[in-house]
């Protein structure tokens, strides 16, 4: 009997040992990083920071839509029947509803924000004073603060009225007309954030960028990537600050930050001779401050949806340059002679942008770097700021303005004024996706000649102000988040 009792005791003991371990029910995946583990170490956070640049490279954002859609809306681009796959139509007609709006951009911006927040919220205590210093952590934080600010900035440009308009009309606009986008600081799966005002959204953007500027090591640049200009350094932050302040009408600050970038000596104006070769380069040089690095192997590679195929006359080729845009250039201007191309047989009479010729990874659905910030913009930002009263010692606004045509084989200006700045910005940044934002902040509407509106069906002219300058918030988001307020003017909102 004793033997039996012992036996039973032993069995029970074994069973208990097998079953009652404290972590018995914890089985984490070993082949994938859990979020917890990813964000637990410096190396993991470093990888997560690199990953946070991911969506910039998607066709829903910079490697196509962000550029093409804005050009189509701004009157630089148009459709035609020579090459018509049905693409690039929505922006051309300003045909947006809550069901059909720029949902992808909204999503990718917030995905990027979440990725940045995951890093920012987990940096504390990860320095060991030896291999990982506080500065290492600050550099990651600066990258993520930049990306957070940048993503919100991109979204408020699409879904909010221009800052300058809201600021000037604070007393007369309705609450809904003043709304920007939710500013998300922490990843919370249950959060239903409300929209901030445009004014507050910009304030938060500036605050993040200023913090990033103050903590980043001025010599820091992310190691191990194929394109250093695809990641954040101090000049990226300063260049974006210049743009943000310019868009806010904070002229002195816009000029100051432009000056910091120009005076850094890290960037150099392309000459007219260099200019044709800079598009389609493997990595940016000269003027490039920040760009999206295109690569076939990128997880976001859009293949046939990449901008290089859509703007290729031998590809989909839907969007061509408007006659109005082409007419702006002098015949000797390298931006005309080398900035546009015709179809292979030169039979259409249309011109396609040549800024995305493909870098030769594959043909015809090639890839391209897409430039986000470059030196020319700093000069033009400063020129515009000075014209509006900013003062930089020893700097002439007209010289800044002429810095551009003098490097493009074009005539220089004799006067610094709004129309010259407007003209030069349109010519210089055509097909880079920014002219629409200039029109918005200047309060200029879009006026399109009939020749620019081939195949157009509605909204040939879009006056300013109009509700159309803030695209509808996606209905899906309105449905899922009762704290979001729809943009006024659109019919099928909640």
């Amino acid at each position: 009997m004793k033997r039996i009792s012992l036996y039973i005791l032993a069995t029970v003991a074994l069973v208990s040992l097998a079953g009652c371990g404290k972590d018995f029910l914890e089985r984490a995946p070993k082949l994938q990083q859990t979020t917890e583990i990813q964000l637990a170490t410096y190396d993991g956070l470093n990888g997560a920071t690199l990953g946070a640049y991911y969506y910039l490279g998607s066709t829903g954002w910079y490697t196509c839509d962000r550029v093409v859609e804005n050009e189509m809306r701004a009157g630089n681009g148009m459709k035609q029947s020579f090459k018509n796959s049905g693409r690039a139509t929505q922006g051309y007609n300003w045909n947006y509803t809550a069901d059909a709006t720029n949902t992808t951009m909204w999503a990718y911006c917030y995905f990027t924000v979440a990725m940045a927040n995951n890093v920012i919220d987990n940096l504390e205590g990860k320095a060991d004073g030896e291999d990982v210093t506080d500065q290492d952590l600050n550099n990651l934080k600066a990258e993520c603060l930049f990306l957070r600010a940048f993503a919100h900035f991109e979204n408020v440009l699409v879904f909010g009225q221009p800052y300058t308009y809201v600021k000037a009309n604070e007393g007369s606009l309705t609450d809904a007309q003043k709304l920007g986008v939710p500013y998300v600081y922490h990843t919370d799966p249950t959060a239903k954030p409300a929209r901030e005002t445009v004014i507050d959204t910009y304030d938060y953007i500036v605050k993040d960028l200023l913090e990033a500027e103050s903590i980043i090591d001025p010599k820091y640049s992310r190691a191990g990537v194929a394109d250093k200009l695809g990641t954040v350094n101090i000049y990226t932050i300063q260049a974006l600050l210049s743009r943000v302040y310019l868009y806010m009408g904070e002229w002195q600050k816009a000029a100051d930050y432009a000056t910091k970038v120009i005076d850094s000596g890290k960037f150099k104006m392309w000459t007219a001779a260099e200019w044709p070769e800079v598009w389609g380069a493997e990595v940016g040089s000269g003027e490039v401050i920040f760009e999206v690095y295109g690569k076939i192997s990128n997880g976001t590679n859009g293949s046939w949806d990449d901008i290089s195929y859509l703007t290729n006359p031998e590809g989909y080729g839907d969007p061509v340059a408007t006659p109005s845009l082409l007419a702006l250039y002098e015949a000797t201007d390298v931006r005309l002679t080398d900035g546009f191309r015709t179809d292979a047989k030169n039979e259409s009479g249309y011109f396609w942008t040549a800024k995305y010729p493909g870098k030769g990874d594959r043909s015809p659905n090639d890839v391209n770097n897409v430039i986000i910030l470059r030196l020319s913009e700093m000069y033009l930002n400063r020129a515009e700021a000075i014209m509006n009263g900013a003062v930089i010692d020893g700097v002439s606004g007209l010289d800044d303005l002429n810095e551009i045509p003098s490097h493009r084989g074009a005539s220089t200006y004799s006067v610094l004024n709004r129309s010259n700045i407007k003209l030069e910005r349109r010519k210089e940044f055509a097909w880079e996706g920014n002219y629409l934002n200039d029109l918005a902040r200047w309060g200029d509407g879009v006026t399109r000649a009939d020749a620019d509106f081939v195949l157009g069906t509605q909204n040939q002219n879009v006056e300013f102000p109009s509700y159309r300058w803030a695209l509808p918030i996606p209905k899906r988001e309105l449905d899922l988040n009762e704290n979001l307020v729809a943009n006024p003017g659109y019919s099928n909102t909640k």
Binding site: I4, Y7, I8, A10, V12, L14, V15, A18, G19, F24, L25, E26, R27, A28, P29, K30, L31, Q32, Q33, T34, T35, Q38, G44, G47, A48, L50, G51, A52, Y53, Y54, G57, W106, Y110, F111, V113, A114, M115, N118, P182, V184, T187, D188, P189, T190, A191, G224, V225, A226, D227, T231, Y293, K295, S297, N298, G299, T300, P474, R476, E477, N481
Partner: protein, 1002 residues
Amino acid sequence: MRKFKLFLATVAILLAGASAFAQNITVKGVVSDEAGEPVPAAGVLVDGTTKGTVTGANGEYTISVPSNASLRFSSIGYKDQLIPVNGKTVINVTLSEDATKLEDAVVVAYGTVSKESLTGSVTTLKSDEIASAPVTSVDKMLAGKLAGVSVSQGSGQPGSTSTIRVRGTSSITAGNEPLWVVDGIPMMASDFRQLAAVGVGGGSSSTFLNPNDIESITVLKDAAAASIYGSRAANGVILVTTKSGKSGRARFTARAKYGVQQLANDNNLRPLNGLEALEYKRTAVINAGKDPDDPTGSMYFPYTLLENGTSNWYKELTRIGSLQEYEVNATGGTDKSSYYSSLAYHKNEGVYNFLDFQRFTARVNADTQLTKSLKTGARVNLSYSDSHSPQMGSSYYINPQFAMWHPLPWHKVRNDDGSLNYNISEMSGNNPLGVGNDDYNDKEYRLQGSAYLEYKILPTLTFKTTNGVEFLFLESHQYWSPEGSKAGREATAFNIWTTDIRYTTSNTLTYDQTFGDHHVRAMAGQEAMTDTYKYLYGYSPGVDPQIPYPTTAPAANDQVDYSLVEETLMSYFGYLEYSYARKYSVQATLRTDGSSLFGSNKKWGTFYSFGGSWNIANEKFMKPVSGYVSQAKLRASYGVNGNNNISAYRAYGTYASVANLGVANGYAPSRPANPELSWEKNKTWNLGLDFGFFDDRLTGSVDVYNRLTTDMLLATQVPYTTGFGSNTKNVGSIQNKGVEFLLDGILLRKGDFLWTAGFNIAFNRSKVLDLAGNEFLTPSDSRIDDATGVRITEGRSLYTFYLRDWYGVNPSNGDGLWWAEDGTLTNDRTKARYIYYGSPEPKATGGFNTSISWKNFTLSAYAQFVAGNKVLSSNSYVDDGYSLTANTSTAALNYWKQPGDTGVTPKPVAQNPGVYHSLYSTRFLQDGSYLRIKDITLSYNVPSKVLDAVKIKGARVYVSALNPYTFHNVTALDPETGPLGNIEIGVHTAVKSLIGGVEISF
């Protein structure tokens, strides 16, 4: 593993220590059974003491006892007999078989109960019903036999598995297969095969079990019966009990069978022969406005194409399959120990070339009474299977089921020199017979073992611990030879190793007491399970065909993949049962399960059930009708159980590496954390009535149930501001309700003549109640990429077809016509409206069986039916002449020929711009009802007079026809489909078999 080894070692030592007692003599006699056969090793015990002896090999015993004592004679499987000695010196005893005891006891979760006190809805199959049908695996045998248990085969491939649904489909994203519990241990019942299983759709595999080893199968259907399995009970539970040994000298049974098989094709569908195909093509070309006799045209189909003869691809690619099975088993034992052991071999060569399945199984079940209060035993099953498949189920031209419909008959299987013809453009340079050079092979090794120890602490209180291990090793090998296709591809080897190891411990304390009219049974238990799955995959292109192993492939080309999945489960459970005067019973069960699969906030879930029954037949007021009503019992139950059948790690937020900025070491969130992830819940009530008339000559039952699935796991849209677009959440609900009816009767019993029959039918209706805001969902089936034409929509049957609305053929010109959105007819497919139209869920399922025996002959038959379901058949290969290069089937011949023709397919037009054959239209939706005769068996038991002479105890010879005929109207080889109602291209359809066999026991 160490725990298990130690346990086995301990059991072995204890076994060795156990021995019998012996005593001196005063009473002697012989113990025999009703047939006069001596019963060896029967227990002879002085009643009320522990003194006793056992009978010898010839049933004789001698024992010394006080003359006023009583002797208790006992043997496993017989009723005890108590005989006062009263001074007698010779006591001969005849033991009668304990048949009633076996019949009344029903195996249920964690024990057996008398049928009288059962409160839940269970349905049972006994060994004789199991063994009589010569099927390959247990799951197949369940089809049509159990009310409310729907079994669809989905594939006629040897070694294929089944899709089993108990009372409908209850989940969209979690699994729907029932839990299999074999001898008290929940088993891995999924098909692990990596290569041979392509196209074998079902999720329940029991090929590792020898059907003849099974004593009984109980299916627990409602919450009262199943809820004690907690988070795994929602889809029902299949309890399999294997045979225990019977005491006595060793008895052997040997079985052998052999059979032949062919494709079931009862509507005689086939590819067109040479002349038919040519004339069909010519008609299509002429209708397209071209000249088939114009050699310069692109549609040149002259009659001369037939001059060099044609091939019958259907015939060439199919063959007569064969099936053979050999088995020997033995059982025996003493009054304290018994064993059952079997060894079986099964081989099935398929009806397609290079398709086969072989299996060895070996089982030892042993039990021994160590002491009066201590019992131990073990159940060990070993199986090995070896499957080859030429990619059955795939839409590749090497799959003969798919391929045979494509080649034009004048493209021949072989060249004139006898070599295989690969020069067939419509087969992309393939020839299904070329697969003979390739290899798609799975070798699966499985061990399932469990050992128990049972300790009767008190006569009313029993502790039992059962510890099991299940081990699976699967070696899969795929080889592409350079000769296998026209292209002369690179010799490539794929090697996959899969292992799965599962440990289970189950420990219970059971209390069972009767006080007068009161009977109480209670149990408390604990279980734990760990399961580890690993997978290692190697892809080696460019191996040396002479040495087709990874070693000869350039190392730079090798690719390796790896998978690891771990799962644990911890449970505490119990039940309480009370019955009074064999009239009233109540029962409650409770289980709490903790699972590694779920979120940190929802690790544990609690499940319960209540049930009650009232035995009306035992009431006094029923006395006057007791001559007619022999059984009448009302049952009612309600309970909540769970479905944890989801992939592991879904609760964890994860990061995955992403490639950007020219490097691959960035990381991006791939899934949000979901600490609230939990089980789907099933709330079921059940009302049942069991009845019996005329001394149980007619018995049956009716059950009504309602099963509500809530907290369904669905991908739910979340605001993008959270960083994700969707997250899996416990939302949504569906309902299944139904009625089941079961009737068994003895139709005629006269002298040597016995005629019995049985019938069961079940009606289940599903309804989607809440999809958490999703307009609709599609069933996720990665293999067919949701291209099922089936939608899940609120307010409708769980699966409802959503298809283009086909009107028919325009009688005036032979064009196809659809209904457009505005209610007009259109021949433009893009304008066709989509409509919800019918469900693949049957309105009724069930079966019949009957058996007639006369003297030593028995003729038995059973049939299965499915009624009122819709199926979408792409199996007819009708394309209205669209393709110039592919053949079509005989279903295409009934086409429009002249104005006024109705009930026809559109007129054939080569490269038909209308594309009327586009599958997802109601045109191809058909009534999927069928009645399948599953088995007709004629058997003959050789009379003992004949056998005695050769010292054989029993012999049976039989001949069976399996699936001999199926009544259906579906344009396909066979109408049987999975739950989504898609008769898919390329899936191996059902086969019919003719089998003969012998069984000899000695």
